[in-house]
């Protein structure tokens, strides 16, 4: 009897949170992209435009995935932007001033990420300190360290690195012919490949592994997760570890995209990562979220930035204002959905 009633409830009770929020995001993205292609036309109709968005935002996708993971577990990590800047500065200094190798620089990136993850994860999970405070300090530490490592921004001249930076992967079947009839292949950078692998691995992990499910359990209700025999502290620790490591990977991908080290790199990236996760349907309260949603969150965010800048509002401040407006909008949607859901559950 009860079950039938629940099934007849409003849409908010029938569809589960994750799918509903994911659906909203995907629809918003498609409408925006198609709208841009129809109205603004031009660049948006070519497949390369889409891949340019991917190329420029591969590192954001990777860091956002880590962010989603932490947010699903009920935490937050605002140090990722700082870590990205620190990684690119350290790698740049290592490659140029110390004649480093590619492998070494990758190891540096991973090492910084891991170290961050271990310290922050320990502080958050085992010492019960608010994740926001820990990662705020982490962010300031990373930003400060970046200027201590090297103050002036500079471009990397290392040959092996520049070769890797120039490497492009042609996407088969999506090339276009230019005016002279020459075939121009659509390309993606290596970072995009890394980002897609990260998305795939995390998706599988969250969906089908015991660890992945325990992330949701801990974020949803710590107490009942503990009752189920999940090691809550270890799960939290792992979520921060993975997030910071992904920030390290994202930092390297960012470095590979821009090819320079600067203290001002990735300013506000943590914001964009949080915004993407929220737009992608990850709940701040924890327990709800989806990596595919995050991917679409990043795409929506960068599409709207592209639309804003190609529609003539190309002053720098419009980007900040649009992202904030979008974030605000999606936060309100989440809040309203949660309130309705609570009401619907109460009435049944």
């Amino acid at each position: 009897m009860k079950k039938v009633k629940a099934n007849k409830g409003s849409i908010f009770t029938r569809v589960n949170d994750t799918n509903l929020l994911l659906g909203i995001t995907v629809i918003v993205f498609l409408i925006m992209y198609l709208g841009a292609a129809c109205i603004l036309g031009g660049a948006f109709t070519k497949p390369q435009a889409f891949f340019n968005i991917l190329n420029a935002n591969a590192s954001l996708i990777i860091t956002s995935c880590g962010m989603s993971l932490v947010m699903i577990t009920g935490g937050i990590d605002i140090s990722v932007g700082g870590v990205v800047a620190l990684v690119s500065m350290c790698c740049a200094v290592y490659l140029d001033y110390h004649d480093g190798t590619i492998l070494g620089s990758i190891l540096i990136a991973l090492g910084i990420g891991l170290a961050y993850g271990i310290v922050q994860g320990f502080l958050v999970a085992y010492l019960d300190i608010q994740p926001f405070i820990v990662s705020l300090a982490g962010m300031f530490f990373a930003r400060g360290m970046t200027t201590i490592v090297n103050t002036a921004p500079f471009n990397v001249t290392n040959e092996a690195f520049n070769q890797l930076k120039q490497t492009r992967i042609n996407v088969p079947g999506l090339g276009t012919y230019n005016r002279r009839g020459i075939y121009v292949p659509t390309y993606a950078e290596i970072g995009v490949l890394v980002a897609l692998i990260v998305v795939l691995v995390l998706y599988i992990m969250l969906k089908w592994t015991k660890l992945g499910r325990s992330f949701y359990a801990v974020g949803g209700n710590k107490q009942s997760a503990l009752m189920l025999g999940i090691n809550v502290k270890r799960t939290k620790f792992l979520s921060h570890l993975i997030c910071s490591t992904l920030a390290g990977v994202g930092g390297y991908v960012y470095f590979l995209h821009v090819g320079s080290g600067a203290a001002s790199h990735a300013m506000g990236m943590e914001m964009n990562a949080i915004a993407s996760s929220i737009i992608g349907g990850t709940m701040l309260t924890g327990g709800v979220g989806n990596i595919i949603g995050t991917l679409f969150g990043v795409l929506s965010l960068s599409t709207i930035q592209n639309i804003v800048s190609s529609a003539g509002f190309d002053q720098a401040w419009w980007t900040g204002i649009t992202i904030a407006t979008m974030l605000c909008l999606f936060l309100l949607i989440q809040s309203v959905i949660m309130a309705k859901k609570k009401k619907a559950l109460k009435t049944t």
Binding site: L123, A137, F140, F141, T147, I148, L284, W317, T325
Partner: protein, 359 residues
């Protein structure tokens, strides 16, 4: 219980006092400076650029530049206590309020020859803008139940952009030298004006806390929202009020910040001040998850942080690298105030005492 009370020595009572940690930090910093360079504490009378005899010295600098922080710490303590979260948008809202103030003062012209409106009106506008930002944050937190730090993240991202947008990305310069009095010195008075402004804010807040129920209600909402509602307090109103008061504090801080330069730099003004303000609250021994608060400890914390900043500058740390050192201080602070660590230390202390008794 009575037994432990008897065992309470003077030292233990001192340690359990909330003022202990900021005072200890202050003494430590003072000792470090005394060892490094005793001239740190020298205060002399010098002529400044305007030809006034003013007090100068590191201690005066700390009092001067700590004012904004102390003012912000008042509001931040209330917000922390009521909502159990922190407002990270204060730096960005200072930019907005300052930008609005400049827009009104200069009448939208980049290089005006005289003030378009009196300073008082411009300050009122800044207050309104600050309160509007506070109201926005407060509504998101209290009505839409978004975590304070996330809700304020919106203005944190957009704030500096909005500030640049208000003045069309121009940097108006206030033509009247009298405007610089707020962030500098009034002729004939050797003490920085900011010290008076900060003192006025602190006195007003003290009176408000003394003669109204604001402090009690804020603590009640912070400790348990549900039971405070059952006791007839409106938690939504109290939370929004806390954010609006912070908005007022932001407007005052914006007045000082803009007055110091007579102009504004959107991306640099009050940069990282949110970190310092939160740090001041934490250093004051206030729980960052809401509830009981001690505004005096926060204000003391703010001056201690300014002391730390000045000391770091004295050691020739560049302003960009400053954040890294402060972050280490924050981590040490939060680790020692974490409940788990406190429990552990308490147990350790008990074991030690037990061993002593056996011996």
């Amino acid at each position: 219980m009575s037994k432990t009370k008897q065992n309470d020595s003077f030292l233990r009572r001192l340690i359990s006092n909330q003022m202990f940690i900021p005072l200890l930090a202050l003494v430590l910093l003072a000792i470090i400076n005394l060892i490094n360079d005793p001239s740190f504490f020298k205060i002399s009378v010098q002529l400044n650029n305007a030809g006034n005899a003013v007090l100068s010295g590191y201690l005066i600098t700390i009092l001067d530049y700590g004012s904004e922080l102390a003012i912000l710490a008042i509001g931040m303590t209330l917000v922390t206590a009521a909502s159990g979260g922190q407002d990270i948008s204060v730096g960005a809202t200072i930019a907005i309020a300052g930008s609005a103030m400049l827009h009104v003062l200069c009448g939208g012209v980049a290089r005006p020859t005289e003030l378009a409106t009196p300073v008082f009106v411009a300050f009122l506008v800044a207050c309104l803008v600050g309160m509007a930002c506070g109201l926005f944050n407060g509504l998101l937190v209290a009505i839409f139940k978004i975590q304070p730090m996330i809700a304020t993240l919106i203005l944190f991202t957009a704030g500096r952009s909005i500030a640049a947008w208000i003045n069309n990305n121009e940097l108006p310069i206030v033509p009247d030298p009298k405007f610089a009095y707020f962030g500098g010195f009034i002729p004939g008075i050797p003490i920085p004006t900011t010290v008076f402004i900060a003192a006025a804010c602190i006195i007003i807040m003290a009176l408000v806390l003394k003669f109204t129920n604001l402090g009690l209600y804020t603590q009640a909402v912070g400790i348990n929202e549900k039971s405070s509602r059952l006791n007839g307090i409106n938690p939504t109103f109290i939370k929004i009020l806390a954010f609006i008061i912070l908005g007022l504090c932001v407007a005052v801080a914006a007045l000082i910040k803009v007055s110091r330069l007579s102009t504004i730099n959107y991306s640099v003004i009050a940069k990282d001040i949110e970190m310092d303000a939160i740090l001041a609250v934490a250093l004051g021994g206030n729980s960052l998850s809401g509830g009981k608060f001690n505004i005096w400890a926060s204000i003391l914390g703010a001056y201690v942080i300014q002391f730390l900043t000045t000391t770091l500058y004295k050691f020739e740390v560049s302003s960009d690298a400053l954040a890294a050192y402060k972050a280490i201080v924050v981590i040490i602070l939060v680790v020692f105030s974490a409940p788990t660590v406190r429990d552990y230390m308490g147990r350790l202390g008990k074991q030690l005492r037990a061993k002593k008794e056996v011996a």
